[in-house]
Amino acid sequence: MGANFSLWKLTKWTLFYLLVLVIVVVSVFPFYYAILTSFKSGTDLFRINYWPTSFSLNNYFNVLNTGSFPRNLLNSVFISSVTVLLALFLAITASFALSRVRFRGRGLLLMTILGVSMFPQMAVLAGLFELIRFMGIYNTPWALVFSYTIFTLPFTVWVLTTFMRDLPVEIEEAAIVDGATPWVIITRVFMPLMWPALVTTGLLAFIGAWNEFLFALTFTSSNDTRTVPVAIALLSGSTQYEIPWGNIMAASVIVTVPVVVLVLIFQRKIVSGLTAGGVKG
C-alpha cells in the first residue's frame, strides 16, 4: 500500500514537471534560437544545431555600427517612453472623472472606450494616415506617439478606472475636507495608492509601443525616423538576395533585452498590481 502510494506520488510529480518542461521549452525556444543564431557567423548560420558551437559578437558590432540602427533604437526608446507618459497622464485624469465624477452618459462613454479598443489596426490605418498628414506630423516621432497613445488609452483608462473605483470614497472625502483640489487628490492621494496599477498598465503600454510594427511602417518613411521593429524587418544584406539572419537576430536580442529588464525590475509591482483590488486588505 505504502509503496503503491509513493509510486503514484512519483508519477504525478514526474508528469507535472514534464508538462512544465514542455511549456517552458515551447515558449522559450524561439527566443533561445534567436540568441543562439545571433552569436553565429558565416555559413554557420545555416547549420541547424541546438547548442552553441561557436561564439562571435560580430553580428552585434555589425548591427550597431551600420546604417541607422542606433538611431532607430533611440527613436523607439523616445516614442515608447513619451507614449507611456502621455497615456498615463491622460488615463489617470480620465479615470478620475470616469470613476469619481457623476455625469450623464458616463457608462456609455466607458463602453465606447472599451469598444474602440476592439477595432483592428488595419481598419483605422487609412483614416489615421489622413489625420496624421493633416496635422503635418507624418514621418516624425509624434505620428507614432499619437497613434500609439490612441491605441493604448482604452485599455489604460479601463484598467485605471476599475482600480480607482475600488479606492475608498472616504479617503477622497477626507482629502476634500482637508481642502484638497481634484488635482491634489489625484497627485498626492490617489497616485501613491495606484503605483501597482500604474506600473502594470505603463509597462504594457511600453511593450505595446516598443513592438508595434504596422503603424511604424506606415507613418515613417526615412531610415532616421523608423523604430526598431521596422528597422529590423528592413535590414538588408550585401546583396538583394541575401537575408542577414545573423544581424536580424542580434538586433532582435538587443531589442528584447530592455523589455525583459523592465519586466524583471517591476515584477513584484506587476503581480501585486494584477491582484490588487481583488481582495479588500
Binding site: E170, E173, V177, D178, G179, L193
Partner: protein, 335 residues
C-alpha cells in the same frame, strides 16, 4: 465657535427625497447628536452640513452667513469618518499635517507644533512616524480625530466614529470624545450615531430623526422623560420602553401607554396587571424580567440587583402612576 442654522433643508437623490425639510439650530459650542434608525437620513444631514453633498433646497447658515455653495474646506469644519479614512501611504504625522500643508500661510514649525499638540492630547505622539497599517483600530481612530483637531475647526463632525471598534474600546473612546468636548468648549460638535447609548452619554442635545424629518430635539433627559412621540419613546432608553395597548391603555384613557422597565414594581398580590415570566436576565447590578401579558412584545421589568424569578412564574405588577406615558391613536403624547 460657530452656530449653525438649517432652514427648511431638503435633499433629493434623483426622485428619492432623503431629507424632507429640516429646521434646526445648533448653538455655539454645543454637542449635538443626530440619532435615528438606519436610513433615516442622519448621515446625509451631516454630509449636507459638511458640504460633501449639495443641498437641494433650503438654507444653511454658519454664524448667520449663508454657506450653501461654500466648499467643505472653506466652512471651517473637520470630519471624522466611520472608516477612519486615513491616507494609507502617509505616516501619522503626514496624515495629520496634510490639511495644514494645503492651506497657505502655515510654516513648517507651526504645523509641527500644532500636530504635536494634537498628538499629545490623544496620546499618539509615539506613533507619529508610523503608517496607518501599523496601528490598531482604536489608534487609527485617534489619528483620524487628531487629524481633525490639528485643523482647529469651528465645527467638528463625527460620522459614526465608534462603530468599527470593539465594545470595550468603544466605551473608552466615547469617554475620550466627551473629554475632548470639555477641552474644546468653543467648538461646535455634531455627532451621528444609531446607538442611543452614545447619544445619551455624549450629547448636550439630541436630534432624533426619522424618515428624513426631525422627530424631536432636546436634552437627553427631556427625550427620556417627555418623549414627543411613540417613536422617540421607543427609540431612547435601553431596555426599550414597554408599550401596552388595548383595555389596559383604555383604563388610563389612552390608545397606547408607555412605561419604562424601572417604573414597574413587582408586588406580591393584587397588582394592576399580571403576567407569566418567560425569561430573565441577570446583569449583576440590575436584572430584567420578561413578562408575557398578552401584549405584542413581552413587557420588561427592571429590578435592582439580581432576582430569582423563573420562567413560568406568575407575577403581579403595578406601574408607577406618574411615570406612565399616554399616547393617542396617532402616536402623539397626551399630557
Amino acid at each position: 465657535m460657530a452656530s449653525i442654522e438649517l432652514r427648511n433643508i431638503r435633499k433629493s437623490f434623483g426622485v428619492v427625497e432623503v431629507i424632507k425639510g429640516v429646521d434646526l439650530t445648533i448653538r455655539k459650542g454645543e454637542f449635538m447628536v443626530f440619532v435615528g434608525p438606519s436610513g433615516c437620513g442622519k448621515s446625509t444631514l451631516l454630509r449636507l452640513i459638511s458640504g460633501l453633498e449639495d443641498i437641494t433646497s433650503g438654507e444653511m447658515l454658519f454664524d448667520g452667513q449663508r454657506v450653501n455653495a461654500l466648499a467643505p474646506s472653506k466652512r471651517g469644519i473637520a470630519m471624522v469618518f466611520q472608516s477612519y479614512a486615513l491616507y494609507p501611504h502617509m505616516t501619522v504625522y503626514e496624515n495629520m499635517a496634510f490639511g495644514l500643508t494645503l492651506e497657505k500661510g502655515h510654516d513648517k514649525d507651526e504645523i509641527r507644533r500644532r500636530v504635536e499638540k494634537a498628538a499629545d492630547m490623544l496620546q499618539i505622539r509615539q506613533y507619529l512616524d508610523r503608517l496607518p497599517k501599523q496601528l490598531s483600530g482604536g489608534q487609527r481612530q485617534r489619528v483620524a480625530i487628531g487629524r481633525a483637531i490639528t485643523r482647529d475647526p469651528k465645527v467638528f463632525l463625527f460620522d459614526e466614529p465608534l462603530s468599527n471598534l470593539d465594545a470595550a474600546l468603544r466605551v473608552a473612546t466615547r469617554i475620550e470624545i466627551a473629554k475632548l468636548h470639555e477641552g474644546m468648549p468653543e467648538t461646535t460638535m455634531i455627532y451621528v450615531t444609531h446607538d442611543q447609548v452614545e447619544a445619551m452619554t455624549l450629547a448636550d442635545r439630541i436630534c432624533v430623526l426619522r424618515d428624513g424629518m426631525i422627530e424631536q430635539v432636546g436634552t437627553p433627559m427631556e427625550l427620556y422623560e417627555t418623549p414627543d412621540s411613540l417613536f422617540v419613546a421607543g427609540f431612547i432608553g435601553s431596555p426599550k420602553m414597554n408599550f401596552i395597548g388595548g383595555e389596559r391603555a383604555a383604563a388610563h384613557g389612552a390608545s397606547t401607554i408607555g412605561i419604562r422597565g424601572e417604573h414597574i414594581a413587582i408586588v406580591p398580590e393584587g397588582g394592576e396587571w399580571s403576567g407569566t415570566v418567560i425569561h430573565t436576565e441577570n446583569l449583576g447590578a440590575d436584572s430584567y424580567v420578561y413578562l408575557d401579558m398578552g401584549t405584542e412584545e413581552p413587557v420588561v421589568v427592571r429590578l435592582d440587583g439580581a432576582n430569582s424569578y423563573k420562567s413560568g412564574d406568575v407575577v403581579h405588577v403595578t406601574p408607577m402612576a406618574d411615570r406612565i406615558h399616554r399616547f393617542d391613536a396617532s402616536g402623539k403624547p397626551m399630557r
